[in-house]
Symmetry: C2
Subunit: 321 residues, 2 copies
Protein backbone atom coordinates (compact mmCIF):
# COMPACT_ATOMS: atom_id res chain seq x y z
CA UNK A 1 0.00 0.00 0.00
CA UNK A 2 2.73 2.40 1.06
CA UNK A 3 4.60 1.41 -2.09
CA UNK A 4 1.53 2.00 -4.25
CA UNK A 5 1.08 5.52 -2.91
CA UNK A 6 4.77 6.23 -3.48
CA UNK A 7 4.50 4.96 -7.04
CA UNK A 8 1.45 7.16 -7.56
CA UNK A 9 3.30 10.24 -6.36
CA UNK A 10 6.16 9.28 -8.66
CA UNK A 11 3.82 9.26 -11.64
CA UNK A 12 3.01 5.59 -12.18
CA UNK A 13 -0.15 5.16 -14.28
CA UNK A 14 -0.38 1.58 -13.11
CA UNK A 15 -0.43 2.68 -9.47
CA UNK A 16 -3.15 5.25 -10.22
CA UNK A 17 -5.28 2.61 -11.91
CA UNK A 18 -4.82 0.16 -9.05
CA UNK A 19 -5.59 2.74 -6.39
CA UNK A 20 -8.79 3.78 -8.17
CA UNK A 21 -9.82 0.14 -8.29
CA UNK A 22 -9.22 -0.11 -4.56
CA UNK A 23 -11.49 2.85 -3.79
CA UNK A 24 -14.04 1.70 -6.32
CA UNK A 25 -14.24 -1.74 -4.75
CA UNK A 26 -14.52 -0.16 -1.31
CA UNK A 27 -11.42 -2.04 -0.24
CA UNK A 28 -10.83 -2.33 3.48
CA UNK A 29 -7.60 -0.37 3.23
CA UNK A 30 -9.36 2.47 1.47
CA UNK A 31 -9.50 4.92 4.36
CA UNK A 32 -5.81 4.40 5.15
CA UNK A 33 -5.00 5.02 1.53
CA UNK A 34 -7.13 8.16 1.27
CA UNK A 35 -5.52 9.47 4.44
CA UNK A 36 -2.08 9.03 2.97
CA UNK A 37 -2.76 10.73 -0.31
CA UNK A 38 -4.80 13.54 1.22
CA UNK A 39 -1.86 15.91 1.90
CA UNK A 40 -1.00 15.71 -1.80
CA UNK A 41 -4.44 16.80 -2.99
CA UNK A 42 -6.14 20.15 -3.52
CA UNK A 43 -4.16 21.27 -6.55
CA UNK A 44 -6.20 19.91 -9.44
CA UNK A 45 -9.03 21.93 -10.96
CA UNK A 46 -12.16 19.81 -11.41
CA UNK A 47 -14.45 20.38 -14.40
CA UNK A 48 -17.85 18.67 -14.58
CA UNK A 49 -19.46 18.00 -17.96
CA UNK A 50 -23.06 16.85 -17.94
CA UNK A 51 -25.84 16.49 -20.48
CA UNK A 52 -28.53 14.18 -21.75
CA UNK A 53 -27.60 10.94 -23.53
CA UNK A 54 -26.85 11.68 -27.18
CA UNK A 55 -25.81 15.29 -26.61
CA UNK A 56 -22.28 14.48 -27.72
CA UNK A 57 -20.59 14.98 -24.35
CA UNK A 58 -17.92 12.41 -25.03
CA UNK A 59 -16.67 13.85 -28.31
CA UNK A 60 -16.78 17.30 -26.73
CA UNK A 61 -14.65 16.07 -23.84
CA UNK A 62 -12.23 14.55 -26.36
CA UNK A 63 -11.89 17.87 -28.17
CA UNK A 64 -11.40 19.76 -24.92
CA UNK A 65 -8.78 17.27 -23.88
CA UNK A 66 -6.78 18.04 -27.00
CA UNK A 67 -7.03 21.78 -26.37
CA UNK A 68 -5.84 21.34 -22.82
CA UNK A 69 -2.97 19.11 -23.88
CA UNK A 70 -1.91 21.81 -26.35
CA UNK A 71 -1.49 24.04 -23.28
CA UNK A 72 0.68 21.28 -21.81
CA UNK A 73 -1.69 20.51 -18.95
CA UNK A 74 -1.88 17.06 -17.40
CA UNK A 75 -5.41 15.73 -17.66
CA UNK A 76 -7.49 13.12 -15.90
CA UNK A 77 -10.87 12.10 -17.29
CA UNK A 78 -13.44 10.20 -15.25
CA UNK A 79 -16.51 9.04 -17.17
CA UNK A 80 -19.38 8.39 -14.79
CA UNK A 81 -22.36 6.53 -16.16
CA UNK A 82 -25.08 5.76 -13.66
CA UNK A 83 -27.20 4.31 -16.47
CA UNK A 84 -24.64 1.69 -17.37
CA UNK A 85 -26.69 -1.33 -16.27
CA UNK A 86 -28.82 -0.51 -19.27
CA UNK A 87 -26.57 1.09 -21.81
CA UNK A 88 -23.02 0.03 -21.04
CA UNK A 89 -22.14 3.39 -22.59
CA UNK A 90 -19.29 4.41 -20.33
CA UNK A 91 -17.29 1.31 -20.98
CA UNK A 92 -17.57 1.65 -24.74
CA UNK A 93 -16.53 5.31 -24.78
CA UNK A 94 -13.67 4.39 -22.52
CA UNK A 95 -12.27 1.81 -24.87
CA UNK A 96 -12.46 3.98 -27.94
CA UNK A 97 -10.75 6.88 -26.27
CA UNK A 98 -8.22 4.73 -24.49
CA UNK A 99 -6.76 3.72 -27.83
CA UNK A 100 -6.31 7.30 -28.97
CA UNK A 101 -4.60 8.53 -25.83
CA UNK A 102 -2.96 5.33 -24.63
CA UNK A 103 0.54 6.53 -25.44
CA UNK A 104 0.10 9.96 -23.88
CA UNK A 105 1.70 9.70 -20.46
CA UNK A 106 -0.06 12.85 -19.27
CA UNK A 107 -3.61 11.73 -19.94
CA UNK A 108 -5.39 9.29 -17.67
CA UNK A 109 -8.88 8.08 -18.57
CA UNK A 110 -11.12 5.98 -16.42
CA UNK A 111 -14.76 4.97 -16.59
CA UNK A 112 -16.87 4.28 -13.58
CA UNK A 113 -20.18 2.54 -14.00
CA UNK A 114 -22.40 0.91 -11.47
CA UNK A 115 -20.67 -2.44 -12.10
CA UNK A 116 -23.56 -4.47 -10.83
CA UNK A 117 -23.19 -3.12 -7.33
CA UNK A 118 -25.32 -0.01 -8.02
CA UNK A 119 -24.89 2.86 -5.61
CA UNK A 120 -21.91 4.43 -3.93
CA UNK A 121 -20.95 5.79 -7.33
CA UNK A 122 -20.81 9.43 -6.27
CA UNK A 123 -18.55 8.62 -3.37
CA UNK A 124 -16.27 6.44 -5.50
CA UNK A 125 -16.03 9.27 -8.03
CA UNK A 126 -15.01 11.75 -5.36
CA UNK A 127 -12.36 9.37 -4.15
CA UNK A 128 -11.05 8.71 -7.67
CA UNK A 129 -10.68 12.48 -8.04
CA UNK A 130 -8.51 12.48 -4.92
CA UNK A 131 -6.29 9.81 -6.44
CA UNK A 132 -5.87 11.71 -9.74
CA UNK A 133 -5.31 14.95 -7.84
CA UNK A 134 -2.47 13.39 -5.85
CA UNK A 135 -1.25 11.83 -9.11
CA UNK A 136 -0.50 15.40 -10.25
CA UNK A 137 -3.22 16.02 -12.82
CA UNK A 138 -3.78 19.74 -13.46
CA UNK A 139 -7.34 19.32 -14.66
CA UNK A 140 -9.76 16.53 -13.93
CA UNK A 141 -12.73 16.26 -16.27
CA UNK A 142 -15.77 14.48 -14.90
CA UNK A 143 -18.11 13.44 -17.66
CA UNK A 144 -21.52 12.23 -16.62
CA UNK A 145 -24.86 11.42 -18.14
CA UNK A 146 -27.33 13.93 -16.80
CA UNK A 147 -29.89 12.14 -14.71
CA UNK A 148 -31.27 14.13 -11.83
CA UNK A 149 -29.30 13.32 -8.75
CA UNK A 150 -26.04 12.82 -10.59
CA UNK A 151 -25.91 16.44 -11.71
CA UNK A 152 -26.15 17.52 -8.12
CA UNK A 153 -23.29 15.23 -7.29
CA UNK A 154 -21.22 16.77 -10.06
CA UNK A 155 -21.84 20.26 -8.82
CA UNK A 156 -20.76 19.18 -5.40
CA UNK A 157 -17.49 17.85 -6.76
CA UNK A 158 -16.65 20.13 -9.67
CA UNK A 159 -15.12 23.59 -9.53
CA UNK A 160 -16.72 24.49 -12.88
CA UNK A 161 -19.72 22.78 -14.43
CA UNK A 162 -20.54 22.64 -18.11
CA UNK A 163 -24.02 21.63 -19.27
CA UNK A 164 -24.19 20.24 -22.81
CA UNK A 165 -27.45 20.59 -24.71
CA UNK A 166 -28.46 20.10 -28.32
CA UNK A 167 -30.72 22.33 -30.44
CA UNK A 168 -34.34 21.68 -29.55
CA UNK A 169 -35.40 21.44 -33.22
CA UNK A 170 -38.61 23.34 -33.59
CA UNK A 171 -39.44 22.99 -29.92
CA UNK A 172 -38.70 25.55 -27.28
CA UNK A 173 -36.32 24.79 -24.46
CA UNK A 174 -38.96 24.99 -21.76
CA UNK A 175 -38.00 21.49 -20.73
CA UNK A 176 -34.79 22.77 -19.17
CA UNK A 177 -35.93 23.02 -15.64
CA UNK A 178 -34.75 25.12 -12.75
CA UNK A 179 -32.24 22.53 -11.51
CA UNK A 180 -30.20 22.62 -14.70
CA UNK A 181 -30.22 26.38 -15.02
CA UNK A 182 -28.73 26.63 -11.58
CA UNK A 183 -25.85 24.21 -11.89
CA UNK A 184 -24.40 25.42 -15.20
CA UNK A 185 -21.39 27.72 -15.22
CA UNK A 186 -21.13 27.30 -18.98
CA UNK A 187 -23.80 26.19 -21.45
CA UNK A 188 -22.62 24.39 -24.57
CA UNK A 189 -25.07 23.93 -27.44
CA UNK A 190 -23.46 21.03 -29.25
CA UNK A 191 -24.44 19.83 -32.72
CA UNK A 192 -24.99 23.51 -33.48
CA UNK A 193 -25.33 22.72 -37.19
CA UNK A 194 -28.72 21.16 -36.50
CA UNK A 195 -31.87 23.23 -37.10
CA UNK A 196 -33.09 25.31 -34.18
CA UNK A 197 -29.61 26.07 -32.87
CA UNK A 198 -29.94 29.86 -32.99
CA UNK A 199 -33.35 29.74 -31.34
CA UNK A 200 -32.10 27.49 -28.54
CA UNK A 201 -29.18 29.80 -27.82
CA UNK A 202 -31.44 32.85 -27.79
CA UNK A 203 -33.94 31.20 -25.48
CA UNK A 204 -31.32 30.08 -22.98
CA UNK A 205 -29.79 33.54 -23.00
CA UNK A 206 -33.21 35.01 -22.30
CA UNK A 207 -33.76 32.62 -19.42
CA UNK A 208 -30.36 33.54 -18.01
CA UNK A 209 -31.04 37.25 -18.34
CA UNK A 210 -34.26 36.89 -16.38
CA UNK A 211 -32.28 35.77 -13.36
CA UNK A 212 -30.81 38.98 -12.04
CA UNK A 213 -27.56 38.30 -10.27
CA UNK A 214 -24.25 40.02 -9.77
CA UNK A 215 -22.47 36.70 -9.84
CA UNK A 216 -21.06 34.85 -12.84
CA UNK A 217 -23.30 34.99 -15.91
CA UNK A 218 -22.93 31.67 -17.79
CA UNK A 219 -22.04 32.04 -21.47
CA UNK A 220 -24.01 30.00 -24.03
CA UNK A 221 -21.58 28.63 -26.61
CA UNK A 222 -22.30 26.74 -29.86
CA UNK A 223 -20.03 23.83 -30.79
CA UNK A 224 -19.90 21.10 -33.42
CA UNK A 225 -17.70 18.67 -31.62
CA UNK A 226 -17.41 16.13 -34.45
CA UNK A 227 -15.74 18.88 -36.50
CA UNK A 228 -13.91 20.39 -33.51
CA UNK A 229 -15.68 23.71 -34.01
CA UNK A 230 -16.15 26.13 -31.13
CA UNK A 231 -13.88 24.22 -28.78
CA UNK A 232 -11.33 27.01 -28.32
CA UNK A 233 -14.16 29.28 -27.17
CA UNK A 234 -15.34 26.72 -24.63
CA UNK A 235 -11.82 26.27 -23.30
CA UNK A 236 -11.49 30.06 -23.14
CA UNK A 237 -14.73 30.32 -21.16
CA UNK A 238 -13.55 27.62 -18.78
CA UNK A 239 -10.33 29.48 -18.10
CA UNK A 240 -12.29 32.66 -17.58
CA UNK A 241 -14.65 30.97 -15.14
CA UNK A 242 -11.73 29.48 -13.25
CA UNK A 243 -10.08 32.86 -12.95
CA UNK A 244 -13.39 34.36 -11.77
CA UNK A 245 -13.75 31.61 -9.16
CA UNK A 246 -10.24 32.16 -7.89
CA UNK A 247 -10.30 35.95 -7.77
CA UNK A 248 -13.76 36.22 -6.24
CA UNK A 249 -12.87 33.83 -3.46
CA UNK A 250 -15.72 31.49 -4.48
CA UNK A 251 -13.31 28.66 -5.25
CA UNK A 252 -12.01 28.69 -1.68
CA UNK A 253 -15.59 28.98 -0.48
CA UNK A 254 -16.96 25.99 -2.40
CA UNK A 255 -13.94 23.90 -1.46
CA UNK A 256 -14.54 24.76 2.17
CA UNK A 257 -18.18 23.72 1.80
CA UNK A 258 -17.09 20.52 0.12
CA UNK A 259 -14.71 19.61 2.93
CA UNK A 260 -17.38 20.42 5.47
CA UNK A 261 -19.84 18.14 3.71
CA UNK A 262 -17.36 15.32 3.36
CA UNK A 263 -16.34 15.56 7.00
CA UNK A 264 -19.99 15.52 7.95
CA UNK A 265 -20.64 12.46 5.82
CA UNK A 266 -17.68 10.66 7.30
CA UNK A 267 -18.79 11.36 10.88
CA UNK A 268 -22.34 10.29 10.08
CA UNK A 269 -21.03 7.12 8.52
CA UNK A 270 -19.01 6.33 11.64
CA UNK A 271 -21.88 7.22 13.97
CA UNK A 272 -24.30 5.06 12.01
CA UNK A 273 -22.10 2.02 12.21
CA UNK A 274 -21.67 2.55 15.97
CA UNK A 275 -25.37 3.06 16.65
CA UNK A 276 -26.36 -0.09 14.89
CA UNK A 277 -23.60 -2.13 16.46
CA UNK A 278 -25.12 -1.44 19.85
CA UNK A 279 -28.77 -0.82 19.16
CA UNK A 280 -29.71 -3.93 17.28
CA UNK A 281 -29.19 -6.20 20.18
CA UNK A 282 -30.08 -3.96 23.05
CA UNK A 283 -33.42 -2.75 21.78
CA UNK A 284 -34.52 -5.89 20.03
CA UNK A 285 -35.07 -4.23 16.69
CA UNK A 286 -36.62 -7.36 15.21
CA UNK A 287 -39.58 -7.41 17.54
CA UNK A 288 -40.20 -3.71 16.89
CA UNK A 289 -40.14 -4.39 13.15
CA UNK A 290 -42.66 -7.17 13.65
CA UNK A 291 -44.99 -4.84 15.53
CA UNK A 292 -44.73 -2.28 12.75
CA UNK A 293 -45.40 -4.90 10.08
CA UNK A 294 -48.54 -5.87 12.00
CA UNK A 295 -49.49 -2.16 12.25
CA UNK A 296 -49.40 -2.28 16.05
CA UNK A 297 -46.83 0.48 16.00
CA UNK A 298 -45.85 3.08 13.42
CA UNK A 299 -42.23 3.60 12.32
CA UNK A 300 -42.15 7.31 13.17
CA UNK A 301 -43.08 7.02 16.83
CA UNK A 302 -40.87 3.94 17.12
CA UNK A 303 -37.88 5.83 15.74
CA UNK A 304 -38.46 8.51 18.35
CA UNK A 305 -38.64 5.92 21.11
CA UNK A 306 -35.39 4.37 19.91
CA UNK A 307 -33.75 7.76 19.85
CA UNK A 308 -34.80 8.39 23.43
CA UNK A 309 -32.85 5.32 24.38
CA UNK A 310 -29.74 6.10 22.38
CA UNK A 311 -28.78 8.93 24.65
CA UNK A 312 -25.71 10.87 23.86
CA UNK A 313 -23.09 11.04 26.52
CA UNK A 314 -23.24 14.82 26.70
CA UNK A 315 -26.88 14.78 27.67
CA UNK A 316 -26.43 13.11 31.03
CA UNK A 317 -22.72 12.82 31.57
CA UNK A 318 -20.15 15.30 32.73
CA UNK A 319 -19.75 16.90 29.32
CA UNK A 320 -23.40 17.98 29.39
CA UNK A 321 -24.29 21.55 28.65
CA UNK B 1 -54.91 17.83 8.59
CA UNK B 2 -57.17 15.47 10.55
CA UNK B 3 -59.94 16.34 8.10
CA UNK B 4 -57.68 15.68 5.13
CA UNK B 5 -56.81 12.19 6.38
CA UNK B 6 -60.48 11.47 7.02
CA UNK B 7 -61.37 12.60 3.51
CA UNK B 8 -58.62 10.35 2.15
CA UNK B 9 -59.98 7.34 3.99
CA UNK B 10 -63.44 8.23 2.67
CA UNK B 11 -62.15 8.11 -0.89
CA UNK B 12 -61.57 11.75 -1.80
CA UNK B 13 -59.24 12.07 -4.80
CA UNK B 14 -58.67 15.69 -3.90
CA UNK B 15 -57.47 14.74 -0.43
CA UNK B 16 -55.11 12.11 -1.91
CA UNK B 17 -53.63 14.67 -4.29
CA UNK B 18 -53.18 17.24 -1.53
CA UNK B 19 -51.60 14.76 0.86
CA UNK B 20 -49.12 13.62 -1.79
CA UNK B 21 -48.21 17.25 -2.39
CA UNK B 22 -47.60 17.65 1.32
CA UNK B 23 -45.18 14.71 1.48
CA UNK B 24 -43.56 15.74 -1.79
CA UNK B 25 -42.90 19.24 -0.49
CA UNK B 26 -41.55 17.81 2.74
CA UNK B 27 -44.17 19.75 4.66
CA UNK B 28 -43.53 20.20 8.37
CA UNK B 29 -46.69 18.26 9.23
CA UNK B 30 -45.54 15.32 7.12
CA UNK B 31 -44.49 12.99 9.92
CA UNK B 32 -47.75 13.57 11.81
CA UNK B 33 -49.66 12.81 8.65
CA UNK B 34 -47.70 9.65 7.86
CA UNK B 35 -48.22 8.48 11.43
CA UNK B 36 -51.95 8.90 11.09
CA UNK B 37 -52.33 7.05 7.83
CA UNK B 38 -49.88 4.29 8.76
CA UNK B 39 -52.46 1.99 10.43
CA UNK B 40 -54.44 2.02 7.18
CA UNK B 41 -51.54 0.86 5.01
CA UNK B 42 -50.07 -2.51 4.11
CA UNK B 43 -52.90 -3.75 1.91
CA UNK B 44 -51.87 -2.52 -1.54
CA UNK B 45 -49.66 -4.62 -3.78
CA UNK B 46 -46.83 -2.54 -5.28
CA UNK B 47 -45.60 -3.26 -8.80
CA UNK B 48 -42.44 -1.58 -10.13
CA UNK B 49 -41.99 -1.06 -13.85
CA UNK B 50 -38.56 0.06 -15.03
CA UNK B 51 -36.74 0.31 -18.33
CA UNK B 52 -34.59 2.55 -20.49
CA UNK B 53 -36.05 5.71 -22.02
CA UNK B 54 -37.91 4.82 -25.21
CA UNK B 55 -38.70 1.24 -24.20
CA UNK B 56 -42.40 2.02 -24.16
CA UNK B 57 -42.94 1.67 -20.42
CA UNK B 58 -45.72 4.26 -20.31
CA UNK B 59 -47.92 2.69 -22.97
CA UNK B 60 -47.29 -0.71 -21.36
CA UNK B 61 -48.42 0.66 -18.01
CA UNK B 62 -51.51 2.10 -19.69
CA UNK B 63 -52.39 -1.30 -21.18
CA UNK B 64 -51.81 -3.05 -17.86
CA UNK B 65 -53.99 -0.50 -16.14
CA UNK B 66 -56.87 -1.37 -18.45
CA UNK B 67 -56.40 -5.11 -17.77
CA UNK B 68 -56.42 -4.50 -14.05
CA UNK B 69 -59.49 -2.29 -14.25
CA UNK B 70 -61.27 -5.08 -16.14
CA UNK B 71 -60.68 -7.19 -13.00
CA UNK B 72 -62.31 -4.35 -11.04
CA UNK B 73 -59.15 -3.47 -9.10
CA UNK B 74 -58.51 0.03 -7.83
CA UNK B 75 -55.25 1.32 -9.25
CA UNK B 76 -52.73 3.99 -8.34
CA UNK B 77 -49.97 4.92 -10.77
CA UNK B 78 -46.90 6.88 -9.72
CA UNK B 79 -44.60 7.95 -12.54
CA UNK B 80 -41.12 8.68 -11.24
CA UNK B 81 -38.75 10.47 -13.54
CA UNK B 82 -35.38 11.34 -12.06
CA UNK B 83 -34.30 12.66 -15.47
CA UNK B 84 -37.05 15.23 -15.60
CA UNK B 85 -34.77 18.28 -15.38
CA UNK B 86 -33.71 17.30 -18.87
CA UNK B 87 -36.63 15.59 -20.48
CA UNK B 88 -39.75 16.69 -18.68
CA UNK B 89 -41.03 13.29 -19.76
CA UNK B 90 -43.02 12.33 -16.70
CA UNK B 91 -45.11 15.42 -16.76
CA UNK B 92 -46.03 14.97 -20.40
CA UNK B 93 -47.03 11.31 -19.96
CA UNK B 94 -49.03 12.35 -16.95
CA UNK B 95 -51.09 14.85 -18.86
CA UNK B 96 -51.89 12.54 -21.72
CA UNK B 97 -53.00 9.73 -19.48
CA UNK B 98 -54.82 11.99 -17.09
CA UNK B 99 -57.28 12.88 -19.84
CA UNK B 100 -58.05 9.26 -20.61
CA UNK B 101 -58.67 8.19 -17.02
CA UNK B 102 -59.85 11.45 -15.51
CA UNK B 103 -63.41 10.24 -15.13
CA UNK B 104 -62.50 6.87 -13.66
CA UNK B 105 -62.92 7.29 -9.90
CA UNK B 106 -60.86 4.18 -9.20
CA UNK B 107 -57.70 5.23 -11.00
CA UNK B 108 -55.31 7.74 -9.49
CA UNK B 109 -52.29 8.90 -11.50
CA UNK B 110 -49.50 11.07 -10.27
CA UNK B 111 -46.09 12.04 -11.62
CA UNK B 112 -43.15 12.83 -9.45
CA UNK B 113 -40.15 14.55 -10.96
CA UNK B 114 -37.26 16.27 -9.33
CA UNK B 115 -39.11 19.61 -9.54
CA UNK B 116 -35.97 21.67 -9.33
CA UNK B 117 -35.22 20.50 -5.83
CA UNK B 118 -33.40 17.36 -7.04
CA UNK B 119 -33.05 14.57 -4.52
CA UNK B 120 -35.33 13.08 -1.91
CA UNK B 121 -37.30 11.57 -4.76
CA UNK B 122 -37.08 7.97 -3.55
CA UNK B 123 -38.31 8.93 -0.11
CA UNK B 124 -41.16 11.02 -1.52
CA UNK B 125 -42.16 8.09 -3.73
CA UNK B 126 -42.29 5.71 -0.76
CA UNK B 127 -44.43 8.19 1.12
CA UNK B 128 -46.77 8.70 -1.83
CA UNK B 129 -47.22 4.92 -1.91
CA UNK B 130 -48.30 5.06 1.74
CA UNK B 131 -50.91 7.67 0.87
CA UNK B 132 -52.33 5.66 -2.04
CA UNK B 133 -52.26 2.50 0.06
CA UNK B 134 -54.34 4.16 2.78
CA UNK B 135 -56.52 5.59 0.00
CA UNK B 136 -57.59 1.99 -0.70
CA UNK B 137 -55.80 1.25 -3.97
CA UNK B 138 -55.44 -2.50 -4.61
CA UNK B 139 -52.45 -2.16 -6.87
CA UNK B 140 -49.93 0.64 -7.05
CA UNK B 141 -47.85 0.79 -10.21
CA UNK B 142 -44.54 2.61 -9.93
CA UNK B 143 -43.20 3.51 -13.34
CA UNK B 144 -39.64 4.76 -13.47
CA UNK B 145 -36.96 5.48 -16.02
CA UNK B 146 -34.18 3.01 -15.42
CA UNK B 147 -31.13 4.88 -14.30
CA UNK B 148 -28.88 3.02 -11.92
CA UNK B 149 -29.78 3.96 -8.40
CA UNK B 150 -33.45 4.42 -9.15
CA UNK B 151 -33.90 0.75 -10.04
CA UNK B 152 -32.54 -0.20 -6.66
CA UNK B 153 -35.00 2.14 -5.05
CA UNK B 154 -37.83 0.53 -6.98
CA UNK B 155 -36.85 -2.93 -5.88
CA UNK B 156 -36.78 -1.72 -2.32
CA UNK B 157 -40.33 -0.43 -2.62
CA UNK B 158 -42.02 -2.82 -5.04
CA UNK B 159 -43.42 -6.26 -4.29
CA UNK B 160 -42.95 -7.32 -7.93
CA UNK B 161 -40.59 -5.70 -10.40
CA UNK B 162 -40.97 -5.72 -14.16
CA UNK B 163 -38.04 -4.78 -16.40
CA UNK B 164 -39.00 -3.54 -19.86
CA UNK B 165 -36.50 -3.99 -22.68
CA UNK B 166 -36.68 -3.65 -26.45
CA UNK B 167 -35.19 -5.97 -29.07
CA UNK B 168 -31.47 -5.33 -29.41
CA UNK B 169 -31.64 -5.25 -33.24
CA UNK B 170 -28.69 -7.19 -34.53
CA UNK B 171 -26.74 -6.70 -31.32
CA UNK B 172 -26.61 -9.12 -28.48
CA UNK B 173 -28.00 -8.23 -25.09
CA UNK B 174 -24.64 -8.33 -23.34
CA UNK B 175 -25.25 -4.78 -22.22
CA UNK B 176 -27.81 -5.96 -19.68
CA UNK B 177 -25.59 -6.05 -16.67
CA UNK B 178 -25.77 -8.02 -13.50
CA UNK B 179 -27.78 -5.39 -11.60
CA UNK B 180 -30.72 -5.60 -13.98
CA UNK B 181 -30.78 -9.37 -14.13
CA UNK B 182 -31.10 -9.47 -10.38
CA UNK B 183 -33.96 -7.04 -9.86
CA UNK B 184 -36.37 -8.39 -12.50
CA UNK B 185 -39.22 -10.68 -11.48
CA UNK B 186 -40.65 -10.42 -14.98
CA UNK B 187 -38.90 -9.42 -18.21
CA UNK B 188 -41.01 -7.74 -20.87
CA UNK B 189 -39.60 -7.42 -24.38
CA UNK B 190 -41.71 -4.59 -25.71
CA UNK B 191 -41.88 -3.53 -29.36
CA UNK B 192 -41.58 -7.24 -30.10
CA UNK B 193 -42.43 -6.60 -33.76
CA UNK B 194 -38.98 -5.04 -34.24
CA UNK B 195 -36.19 -7.17 -35.71
CA UNK B 196 -34.10 -9.14 -33.24
CA UNK B 197 -36.97 -9.80 -30.87
CA UNK B 198 -36.68 -13.61 -30.94
CA UNK B 199 -32.93 -13.45 -30.43
CA UNK B 200 -33.24 -11.07 -27.49
CA UNK B 201 -35.77 -13.32 -25.78
CA UNK B 202 -33.59 -16.40 -26.34
CA UNK B 203 -30.50 -14.67 -25.00
CA UNK B 204 -32.21 -13.41 -21.86
CA UNK B 205 -33.65 -16.86 -21.25
CA UNK B 206 -30.16 -18.32 -21.61
CA UNK B 207 -28.75 -15.82 -19.15
CA UNK B 208 -31.53 -16.64 -16.69
CA UNK B 209 -30.95 -20.38 -17.06
CA UNK B 210 -27.29 -19.94 -16.22
CA UNK B 211 -28.24 -18.69 -12.77
CA UNK B 212 -29.21 -21.85 -10.94
CA UNK B 213 -31.73 -21.06 -8.26
CA UNK B 214 -34.72 -22.75 -6.68
CA UNK B 215 -36.45 -19.43 -6.32
CA UNK B 216 -38.74 -17.70 -8.81
CA UNK B 217 -37.58 -17.98 -12.43
CA UNK B 218 -38.53 -14.73 -14.22
CA UNK B 219 -40.54 -15.26 -17.43
CA UNK B 220 -39.49 -13.34 -20.56
CA UNK B 221 -42.62 -12.06 -22.31
CA UNK B 222 -42.98 -10.31 -25.69
CA UNK B 223 -45.44 -7.42 -25.97
CA UNK B 224 -46.41 -4.81 -28.55
CA UNK B 225 -47.95 -2.27 -26.24
CA UNK B 226 -49.13 0.14 -28.95
CA UNK B 227 -51.32 -2.68 -30.26
CA UNK B 228 -52.13 -4.05 -26.75
CA UNK B 229 -50.56 -7.41 -27.67
CA UNK B 230 -49.21 -9.71 -24.99
CA UNK B 231 -50.64 -7.68 -22.13
CA UNK B 232 -52.90 -10.42 -20.77
CA UNK B 233 -49.83 -12.67 -20.48
CA UNK B 234 -47.93 -10.02 -18.54
CA UNK B 235 -50.86 -9.49 -16.19
CA UNK B 236 -51.09 -13.27 -15.77
CA UNK B 237 -47.40 -13.47 -14.91
CA UNK B 238 -47.78 -10.65 -12.39
CA UNK B 239 -50.62 -12.45 -10.67
CA UNK B 240 -48.58 -15.64 -10.66
CA UNK B 241 -45.58 -13.87 -9.14
CA UNK B 242 -47.75 -12.28 -6.50
CA UNK B 243 -49.22 -15.62 -5.57
CA UNK B 244 -45.70 -17.09 -5.43
CA UNK B 245 -44.55 -14.24 -3.18
CA UNK B 246 -47.49 -14.71 -0.84
CA UNK B 247 -47.37 -18.49 -0.60
CA UNK B 248 -43.60 -18.74 -0.22
CA UNK B 249 -43.60 -16.21 2.60
CA UNK B 250 -41.22 -13.96 0.65
CA UNK B 251 -43.75 -11.15 0.56
CA UNK B 252 -43.86 -11.02 4.36
CA UNK B 253 -40.09 -11.29 4.38
CA UNK B 254 -39.41 -8.39 2.02
CA UNK B 255 -41.99 -6.24 3.77
CA UNK B 256 -40.28 -6.96 7.06
CA UNK B 257 -36.96 -5.96 5.52
CA UNK B 258 -38.52 -2.82 4.15
CA UNK B 259 -39.92 -1.80 7.52
CA UNK B 260 -36.57 -2.51 9.11
CA UNK B 261 -34.80 -0.33 6.56
CA UNK B 262 -37.29 2.49 6.93
CA UNK B 263 -37.11 2.41 10.69
CA UNK B 264 -33.33 2.46 10.44
CA UNK B 265 -33.41 5.42 8.10
CA UNK B 266 -35.76 7.31 10.36
CA UNK B 267 -33.57 6.74 13.43
CA UNK B 268 -30.47 7.76 11.50
CA UNK B 269 -32.23 10.85 10.30
CA UNK B 270 -33.15 11.81 13.86
CA UNK B 271 -29.68 10.98 15.19
CA UNK B 272 -28.03 13.05 12.48
CA UNK B 273 -30.07 16.11 13.24
CA UNK B 274 -29.27 15.75 16.94
CA UNK B 275 -25.55 15.24 16.43
CA UNK B 276 -25.20 18.31 14.30
CA UNK B 277 -27.30 20.41 16.59
CA UNK B 278 -24.78 19.86 19.35
CA UNK B 279 -21.55 19.18 17.54
CA UNK B 280 -21.31 22.21 15.32
CA UNK B 281 -20.90 24.59 18.16
CA UNK B 282 -19.11 22.48 20.68
CA UNK B 283 -16.36 21.19 18.46
CA UNK B 284 -15.91 24.25 16.31
CA UNK B 285 -16.42 22.47 13.05
CA UNK B 286 -15.46 25.51 11.03
CA UNK B 287 -11.92 25.64 12.31
CA UNK B 288 -11.50 21.92 11.65
CA UNK B 289 -12.73 22.45 8.10
CA UNK B 290 -10.22 25.24 7.66
CA UNK B 291 -7.38 22.99 8.80
CA UNK B 292 -8.48 20.31 6.35
CA UNK B 293 -8.72 22.81 3.50
CA UNK B 294 -5.15 23.84 4.29
CA UNK B 295 -4.15 20.15 4.36
CA UNK B 296 -3.01 20.42 7.99
CA UNK B 297 -5.46 17.66 8.87
CA UNK B 298 -7.19 14.97 6.84
CA UNK B 299 -10.96 14.42 6.95
CA UNK B 300 -10.73 10.75 7.93
CA UNK B 301 -8.70 11.19 11.10
CA UNK B 302 -10.72 14.28 11.94
CA UNK B 303 -13.99 12.35 11.65
CA UNK B 304 -12.59 9.78 14.05
CA UNK B 305 -11.56 12.48 16.50
CA UNK B 306 -15.04 13.99 16.34
CA UNK B 307 -16.59 10.61 16.94
CA UNK B 308 -14.44 10.10 20.02
CA UNK B 309 -16.01 13.23 21.43
CA UNK B 310 -19.60 12.36 20.54
CA UNK B 311 -19.72 9.63 23.13
CA UNK B 312 -22.87 7.65 23.44
CA UNK B 313 -24.49 7.62 26.82
CA UNK B 314 -24.25 3.87 27.11
CA UNK B 315 -20.49 3.92 26.82
CA UNK B 316 -19.84 5.73 30.08
CA UNK B 317 -23.18 6.06 31.78
CA UNK B 318 -25.20 3.58 33.80
CA UNK B 319 -26.63 1.84 30.75
CA UNK B 320 -23.14 0.80 29.67
CA UNK B 321 -22.49 -2.80 28.77
Amino acid sequence: MQQLVEDLLNGSKRAAARLISLVENDDLQKIELLKEIFPHTGRAYVVGVTGAPGSGKSSLVDCLLQQMRADDLKIGVIGVDPTSPFSGGAILGDRIRMQEHALDQDVFIRSMGTRGSLGGLARATREAIQVLDAFGKDIILIETVGVGQSEVDIVRTADSTMVVLTPAGGDSVQTIKAGIMEIADIFVINKADLPGSEKTITEINMMLDMKKSDKWRPPVLPTISVRSEGIAEVWGALKEHRSYMEKSGYLMEIRRQRVSRELTEQVEYLVKSRIWERVKERFKLDSLVEKIVLRQKDPYSTANELLEQIKFYGENGKEGD
